[in-house]
Each structure stands twice: as C-alpha cells, then as structure tokens.
C-alpha cells in the first residue's frame, strides 16, 4: 500500500501528544513533517515538546518551527490553565538530540507539498497561523494540498468565548485565510470533539498493553493530568485514518474576526441562510466506540 503523506501542524499540548501518537501508530501514514506553532505554550516550548515526543515515540521526520504569534496580534498568554506551563502538564520527557529543521514551518509545508505531487494532507491541530503564512507566501500552494483536516471551531458551543473555540480564537485571521483558500477542508469542531471522551480509567487499562515503558509512563501521566477530558486533537487524526468514523455535512463556514464578543467564531451556515456555497466538510457526528477501539489499538503499537 502506498503510504499517504501527511504533515501534522501542532502546539503540543496533551491532546496533541495523543494525536501525534495515533498518527505515528498508523502504518498507512508517511509523516513528512511535524510543524510547530504557538498555542498551548510559546513556540519554543511547543517545538521542544515536538522534538521530545518524536524521540519518545520513535518518529523519524522533519520537525520545523513555525509562528510564535498570531497573524495580527502578538502572542499573549499560553493556555497554561489547560496544559501546564510546559504545555504538557509539567510532564518531563526524555530529551531529544534531534535538531530543528533549518527551514521554517511554512517553507517545509510548501517543500513537502511540492514533493508529494498533490497528495499531501495537512492535519493542523493548533492555531492555523503556519498554514496561513504558507498560503500567503506561496500562492500556488493551494493547488498542491489534497486536503486539510482541522481540529478547531464549533457549530455550537465554544471554550474561549460562548461560541469561540480556542484554536480559531487564537488566530481567526489565519483561520479566515485557510477557510477561504479553496482547499478541501474538513472541520472537527469542538461540539464533536467534546463527545470523543475516552475515560481516564479506560486509558489506564489500555496503557497496560504498551510495551515501551517510557511511552507507557508518559501516557499514564498525561491521562491522569488531563482527567476525564476529551483529547480533541485526536479526533482530527482518527478521521483522516478512518474517514467513516464520523458523519459530515458540507456547509459554508466563515470566521468572525471583528467582534470582541464573537472573535474567532466559526459561523457554520447550517440553515443555508447566506446562500453561499459550501467550503468545508463539517463533522456532525462521531462514533465514540470506534474511537475507543482505535485508542486501544494504538497503545498496542508501542
């Protein structure tokens, strides 16, 4: 089987860890790069985490550093209350000796897109700044990306503002650029990822199948720290691996970036009020049991 080239754009992040873990466990993927962005922590920290996570999980790929702040605003404050100051709940990972790629995240995205001959898929699970910069710097990039599967946004409820989800909220301008790019988009929004809960007790049980002790210890620590909170980012990766794990509808989605009250809201036109053509395949349902099975299977690969 020909492996599918992907890039994970990420801000690790507890749930980013599990997203990367699931992608790396899947034989069908060729992870061409991991690109990092500020989000759950400042970019130097998320990059350090990405390097160390790659080492721990035995992933051999380029790791490129991306944006330290959103398109239009300086990076203010990492989401420390969610992810701990080092982004992964103060869990200390074995240090990797791998060097950060000489190219920036957006240059790596373009470089790999050119090499992959139209087959490259992006899985951004943080703010969309790197992807937006890549699209601005390389106008022809939009014709070279097969699909972008985003963890971000929401059709209903938010977690930063009443309707605004964190990844889009952190850089709505970048999200706007991505959502208007014309590239096929899949949105795994917060309303869906909130349903994808694998209870901590289940993860503890599953982790007994992990042969690599260092990996097992990390999984146990992260699961404990996280408590019974869904790993949002994993949903995006799982749906790229197994498309029929979710239900989808094609809708027009636009990003609000002017209003302080709805900054970063993904406006999903579920009632076709705008008359605008769909630009995004929006997740509308999710098979949580299949998700748990994928989680358990993933553990056995390490």
């Amino acid at each position: 089987m020909e492996k599918r080239p992907i890039i994970i754009d990420t801000d690790p992040g507890c749930d980013d860890f599990f997203a990367i873990m699931m992608a790396a466990a899947y034989e069908g993927f060729d992870i061409r790069a991991i690109t990092t962005v500020a989000g759950n922590a400042v970019v130097d920290v998320t990059t350090r985490n990405a390097l160390d996570i790659a080492k721990l999980l035995g992933i051999k790929t380029r790791i490129a550093k991306g944006a330290g702040s959103a398109m239009m605003h300086p990076f203010d404050e990492p989401a420390a209350f969610v992810h701990g100051l080092n982004g992964i709940g103060q869990v200390v990972l074995p240090r990797s000796e791998q060097k950060v790629d000489e190219m920036k995240a957006w240059d790596v995205i373009y470089d790999e897109a050119c090499k992959a001959d139209g087959q490259l898929e992006l899985i951004p699970v943080g703010p969309l700044t790197n992807v937006a910069i890549a699209l601005l710097k390389y106008p022809d990039l939009k014709d070279k990306i097969k699909r972008i599967t985003i963890m971000g946004g929401s059709t209903t409820i938010g977690n930063c503002l009443p309707y605004s989800e964190a990844n889009i909220f952190h850089d709505p301008y970048a999200a706007h650029l991505v959502f208007t790019s014309g590239i096929p988009l899949v949105m795994a929004g917060l309303d869906i990822t909130l349903t994808a809960l694998v209870p901590t007790d289940d993860i503890m049980k599953m982790s007994e199948d992990i042969k690599n002790k260092a990996v097992r210890d990390t999984v146990v620590q992260l699961a404990k720290i996280r408590g019974n909170e869904p790993f949002h980012d994993v949903v995006a990766v799982a749906s790229v691996i197994k498309e029929d794990i979710a239900e989808y509808k094609d809708y027009n989605v636009e990003i609000e970036y002017k209003s302080p009250l709805t900054y970063g809201r993904t406006i999903v036109d579920t009632t076709f009020t705008t008359g605008k053509a769909p630009n995004c395949r929006v997740m509308t349902g999710y098979n949580v049991e299949a998700h748990k099975t994928m989680f358990a299977d993933m553990m056995r690969k390490y």
Partner: protein
C-alpha cells in the same frame, strides 16, 4: 384580580397582528397602547396595517407612530416574509381609526407615568422605540415591571446564520435594552420556531368562523407560504410568544443567562451572545426561553379567537 397593564411595541407584520389579538382576548392583560416601529416594513406601512386591522376588527386601543428606523443604521425591511405591504394576505378596507396625537415614546411615557401598577413592555420589532424611551426616561425605568420581547437566538439566526431579524435590525437599541437592568424575558428563535401551527391547524382556525379567525387564517395562509418554501412543517408564530409568556409563563421552559448584543461583528452583527458555556462570571440579565408546550400555546390562540368572536373586547 387586577389586570397586567402592557404596551405592545411592534411592526405589523403578520405575527405582530396575531400577538395583538392574543393579548386583546386575555382577561389577564390590559393593553394600554400599541406603539409602532419601522422594521418588517416601513413605519408608514406598519402603522397603516395596524390601524386597518384594528378598524376592521372593531378594537379600540391607542396607537402611536414611533421611530422610522434604527438608532444609528438604515432600515432594512423584510418583504420576503411579510410581502410588499408588510401584512400581505387579508384584503381589508381602509382604516377608519387614527393614531393618537403623540409619538410612540410620548405615549409610553404617558401610560407609564399614569399607571398605578408597574407596566409590562412587549416589544416584537426592532427595539428602537423602547431604547429611546429608556434613555429619555431614566426616572420611569423603575415603573417597568418587565420586558417580554420577541427577538434574538442563542444559536441559529434567520436574518444571518447567527442573528435574528429584530435584534440585527437595531443592535444598538437592543444593547440599551439588554443593559437596562429591567427584568428581561427573551422569546428568541430557539422557542419561537417551536411555537408554530401546521396547515391542519390553520384550517381549524378558519373553521372557528368569526371575523377574527378569518383574518388570522388569511394572515397565516400568506405567512405559511414563505415558511413552507423553506421546508418547515410549522409556520412559526414568533411575536405571539412575547404575549403568551406574559399570559402564562408556565407554558415555557427557560434558563437564566448573561446575554450581550454584538454590535461589531462583520458576520455576527446583532447576535444575542448567550453566555451558556459555563465560564461566565457575569450575573444573568435575561431569562431565555428554550422550549414551549406547543399544544397549550395553540389552544391559547384558538381560545383567544373564540373569546374575541363573542365581542365586547376593547369596544
């Protein structure tokens, strides 16, 4: 039992007219005045529609003309839902009644000042008149018992994906009302789309067979076309919810939330931003209706039309 004095502020409007009839039939309410605002159609058309149907139905309630358009923005009308007249459907003779010699805000002031009881406001159009009244009369705010308004939505809009028409039309006015501190009861699209009648029920309304029910059936025959074209089984009775809540709040299920009006959004202008996701530090300013006992609501409408048919109301 003393009746609740109310002022209906509206832009008739099919569902506005039905709301007025529901209020007129209720022995719990005393409609002190009807104030008109530009919204569904121009002020002139909405005023004319009101005077025409009140004349035709022989109901005598003071009517005053208010704001032609929003506080700061231009007026956008909704002929796609209400037709060119703003109340297409019923064929009515010209009005014999005239508006009072006061504008909407002056009439509200007179009613509220003279009332011994606190007055309830039932706005069912853009909130322009109400906002001007509140800003012009800080001393009368304490004499407003509550505001039960038709407008807003916690999630899905009708004018835009996120915004309901009345709030979208004049978000600044809505902001003034939502920050007023007056007990606020929001009958938004969350509940009003549940408060509909189906075609069978429209036929039953016609079968009541008095001039009130014939008028309402004519209104609904026209109004239902728009909603049927959108694939809806029920024709929503948005505005009557504002009145029904005052008559019988037990019919509704509600939640208390802090609600803010978006005045800046490129896409979300006029959204009633409802802090219902659990990280809100503000005290609630609004009781938001989310459900309704539809059968009970429809029965209230049927009963209202039968009561009016017996005559004697607002004669």
């Amino acid at each position: 039992m003393s009746k609740t004095p109310i002022i209906i502020d509206c832009d008739p409007g099919h569902d506005d007219a039905i709301a007025i009839l529901m209020a007129a039939a209720s022995d719990k309410l005393d409609i002190k005045g009807i104030t008109i605002v530009g919204g569904n159609q121009t002020l002139e058309k909405c005023l004319n529609n009101t005077l025409k149907f009140l004349s035709h139905l022989d109901l005598h309630i003071p009517v005053a003309a208010g704001a032609e358009g929003p506080l700061l923005r231009g007026l956008t009308v909704a002929p796609y839902a209400h037709g060119d007249s703003g109340m297409d459907g019923p064929q009515l003779p010209p009005a014999t009644q005239k508006p009072v010699e006061m504008n909407a805000v002056q009439l509200m002031e007179k009613i509220v000042r003279e009332s011994e009881q606190k007055v309830t406001l039932c706005p069912m159009g853009p909130l322009t008149n109400i906002a001007i009244f509140l800003r012009a009369n800080p001393d009368l705010i304490e004499k407003i018992d509550k505001i039960s308004l038709m407008g807003g939505t916690t999630l899905i809009g009708n004018r835009t994906p996120t915004s309901e028409f009345n709030i979208w039309e004049d978000p600044e006015a809505a902001d003034i009302v939502f920050r007023s501190g007056i007990p606020l009861f929001m009958q938004g699209l969350d509940v009003t789309y549940q408060a509909g009648v189906n075609d069978d029920e429209i036929a039953q309304i016609r079968a009541i067979g008095n001039k009130y029910s014939t008028f309402v059936a004519d209104l609904l025959d026209f109004f239902s076309k728009y909603h049927r074209n959108l694939g809806r089984m029920y024709t929503p009775l948005h505005d009557p919810c504002a009145v029904a809540y005052v008559i019988d709040p037990d019919m509704f299920t509600t939640e208390d939330h802090y609600v803010e009006i978006d005045m800046d959004g490129e896409l979300t202008l006029g959204t009633t931003v409802t802090h219902n996701f659990g990280r809100c530090t503000h005290a609630p300013n609004c009781t938001v209706s989310l459900g309704i006992d539809r059968e009970k609501f429809v029965k209230l409408l049927f009963d209202s039309l039968e009561i009016l048919g017996r005559g004697g109301r607002y004669a």
